[in-house]
Symmetry: C2
Subunit: 405 residues, 2 copies
Amino acid sequence: MSILAGLRITECAAFIAGPFATMSLASLGAEVIRIDPLEGGLDYRRWPVTATGRSLYWAGLNKGKKSVSIDLRAPAGRELAQAIITAPGADAGLFISNFPATGWLDFATLQRLRGDLIMASILGNRDGSTALDYTVNCATGFPLATGTPGGDTPTNHVLPAWDLLCGMTAATGLLAAERHRRRHGAGQLLKIALSDVAFAVVGDLGLVAEVQINGDERKRHGNHIFGAFGHDFETQDGRRVMVAAVSLGQWKTLCKATGISAAVAALEQAEGLDMSREGDRFAARDALARLLAPWFAERSLAQAADRLDTEKACWGLYQSFSQLVHDDPRCGPASGLFTPIHHPGIGTTLTPRSPIDFTACETLPPGVGPLLGQHTDEVLLEVLKLSSGAVAALHDQGIVAGARE
Amino acid sequence: MSILAGLRITECAAFIAGPFATMSLASLGAEVIRIDPLEGGLDYRRWPVTATGRSLYWAGLNKGKKSVSIDLRAPAGRELAQAIITAPGADAGLFISNFPATGWLDFATLQRLRGDLIMASILGNRDGSTALDYTVNCATGFPLATGTPGGDTPTNHVLPAWDLLCGMTAATGLLAAERHRRRHGAGQLLKIALSDVAFAVVGDLGLVAEVQINGDERKRHGNHIFGAFGHDFETQDGRRVMVAAVSLGQWKTLCKATGISAAVAALEQAEGLDMSREGDRFAARDALARLLAPWFAERSLAQAADRLDTEKACWGLYQSFSQLVHDDPRCGPASGLFTPIHHPGIGTTLTPRSPIDFTACETLPPGVGPLLGQHTDEVLLEVLKLSSGAVAALHDQGIVAGARE
């Protein structure tokens, strides 16, 4: 049995945060029903797409879910969606959305249909105004602290980090609320704003206190690790590695692997520094990088890797997405994390399961990216217990649709 | 009552993933006991630090927790820690660690002390080898896709995104396992590897399929949003904004706010494109950015903001960390998210609560960053039910310590 077997969550959402939350819960065994309008949600054609226009992004973020396609502009369609969201069952009645929680998706309205409904509403800003990862990220301070030192234009991240973290925060919140409901009977509305998730992290990491307590702010340090030693280096054969020493142990193994101990001692004496202190390693980061650069420049990746691994130094290889897929066994079919899965309309590709391993519960294989509307009939028949005649009538009226690709 | 009131989680961890997981659960009301060695963990002096050497990072990531200080090299100290981790109580017996789960922290050993223990073990790589956010991030592909187009050196992110996501994944896993235990009685070991969390996301976002299905890989597009339209622009008064249009609605509001509709129509005709399609907007991204740049260059931030907000266009302002703290009300004392909190040994600073709002449970104020060992006696007396004489003896023997700053 998978760890969330039996739990049912309905989703009316698009893009990353909401879909990632429920995709993660589906990968743990929850039954997730994603309801989309007949033509697909705003993210249905989101890039990257295949030659035939199928979205690889949509397939990835909705894998393992049931897709239900309903005309959400029609009153009868909205009633159907509400019925699915509020369908009975002790392990059902969980709902996540990033649509405005008004009108037919108003919490009080839905709560009249199921008194103990749990609803997670994902917002841009807490006041309900729009914000995306891109328009929140620029405000956090990180893009101005990212990239080459001395530069003055911002560098946006490519990873939608805030969306992902917001989604996983919502997943945690849903499970916390489900725990509360089972103990006390009460459902509730959870609100999670993307910008709150991001700004809270700025505080959690000490960056707000750095401004207020130290009267300082994080500078742009390129690929140096702040407050410790870590940097990227190019090898003789043109590959690039990142080395990191965030503890004294890691620093010692790095020095031993690269044989720079004597040069470091000379530097300590010349500069009055003590490299056993991470603050001093950070202060001397440029000099230390200059000491290390020739060691890497004189060795192939294989030679450098051999020495670093022998001493158990902490390092990583820079890879393109292609190199990750083709060369890194951690992403390959023997990884245990990725399995080749056929996704209808797309093809077969390495697909990840949940990154959590459990010892007392079944680890589920990766989910399949559904076709839009693939599970419409199944959900109407099994969740709403409609008759096959009633389902056929809904199709005839254009209120619902099945898979069309 | 807060949503996780009563739940008790013990932590032996350092740096971000583990501490962030439990800090997030503490912000929802869980009792979190962080056990550290007498001199503090590896992250106890992590930068940024105050003038007196207190870590703002440590305070931020451990706020709301109880800090217990034990000599973890001494057998008696290890037994004490094991007793806290496995202390009885239906809502206790949850443990999170990023230390090697061997020796006194071996799961089977701990399970002999509490049969239904839930333990989340955070690893670097699944095989137990070391990996940090920095050495995983380089391998994901993102740093080579980040930064100015045409550049060939990688750009590391500054936000430790993988650590944060790994931590929140662990929080979700712990709550899932606690749900399973309450229903079926069984505890278990969860393993979550940082590199699995990261590589799974590469798959979830469609980037693995982009390589395998499309035979392509994500290029470096600078501050352009991939597959849609979005870019940064400088205003007349030298500020910089990010505008985003990831839906047709957002594109239309952006055109209306900036008055570029006629120029866009001319561009469509000249290039044979249809800007109602987001793929075409992405294809024409440089031309569209050139159309918009003068509009921003001719307006102050206030003037541009007024137009954009009037039309409800989606945009955000680039800010430094100082500007976020000083100028953005979403980070200020009236935000509802941040409250000025006094942290002992550090001072008063705006501190975030949980970014989740609940309607049926109490929203807790932000937690206080504890002093190392501040709650040693409280935990020994209340959790282990030791006598005050026994606690005094442990202090005398140097096995435990209270706060010393």
